[in-house]
Amino acid sequence: MNARIAIVFIALLSTGPAFAQGAVSKGQLRLPEFAGLSEKASESVNVTFGPEVLGMAVRFLGTDPEATAAKKLVTSLTGIYVRNYTFDKDYAYPKSDIDGVRRQLSAPGWTRMVETRSRKENTDVDVYMLIENGRAQGLAIIASEPREFTIVNIVGNIDLEQLHDLQKLGVPDLELETAKKPEPAKAAAAPTPAPRK
């Protein structure tokens, strides 16, 4: 009996730290700290919004069209994580950190929707989506340019149709519905989902 109690106690002790670390929710990436980059960058945007902060931010959004569209989009989300750094000189950021994030996106469920490689402008943009049961549960954008790199991770029940509301923020129609309902007719116009990494 005592041995059983001891085993349970040890098991609880061993699993405790895992809970304490806060397992990331589905669709959430473990973004690097990018320590020191903020000092080197001429501009930086570092947004880490979990469910609580996101809820508070939504409450304080205004009523202008931009805010209304944002509110509608964000309501079903549980997290928004953005790392954006702009530098005064080329490639002042560690590409290894970005590659580490890319590796996370090779996990099952993630699908690369868009992959662009421009050697002319040295710009790479990848758009990934985590789709489960026909619904997008996560969105990740990795954009690396010579003097700027951006990682966007949006977590939650993403309604792709609501992504169109982002057009009010200046986002054009990306025709991402094709990910939910692939249509051969649209395939030519829409970005072709790349094979999973």
Binding site: V74, V114, T116, I141, L174
Partner: protein
């Protein structure tokens, strides 16, 4: 001489029977017995009845404390509300900025897909 003196002294101090009724007379002559009254020194000093303001001092202090507590509580609540509003407003601005960055990068991908490179160009899009 000495013996005579001693004898005279002994005769003078010999026990004498009290006259009849002596004890009763003495007891009657004594004042009536009363319980002792102890008056504290502090009470003696403030023996005068408190005036109007002195009587109000304690309730006034209590009322002032209550008013101060209420006012301070209100100020604290107001301060916390202002802090929360400031944090919420800042969070909403950061949220909009995050969405703007997202839209810019989606636009970057869109432009790359929408304007495919000419054949032979050194670009790779999928």
């Amino acid at each position: 001489m000495t013996e005579n003196f001693e004898d005279e002294l002994r005769r003078a101090l010999r026990p004498v029977q009290a006259p009849a009724g002596f004890a009763e007379r003495v007891m009657r002559a004594l004042p009536e017995r009363r319980d002792s009254v102890v008056t504290p020194i502090a009470m003696q000093a403030t023996a005068r009845p408190p005036n109007y303001w002195q009587r109000l001092r304690a309730p006034a202090a209590l009322a002032a404390s209550l008013v101060l507590a209420v006012v301070l509580g209100q100020r604290m609540a107001l301060y916390q509300q202002q802090q929360e509003e400031a944090a919420g407003f800042a969070a909403s601005q950061e949220l909009l900025q995050a969405l703007r960055v997202t839209s810019q990068k989606l636009d970057l991908a869109y432009q790359a897909v929408k304007n495919p490179p000419e054949a032979g160009a050194e670009e790779n899009r999928s």
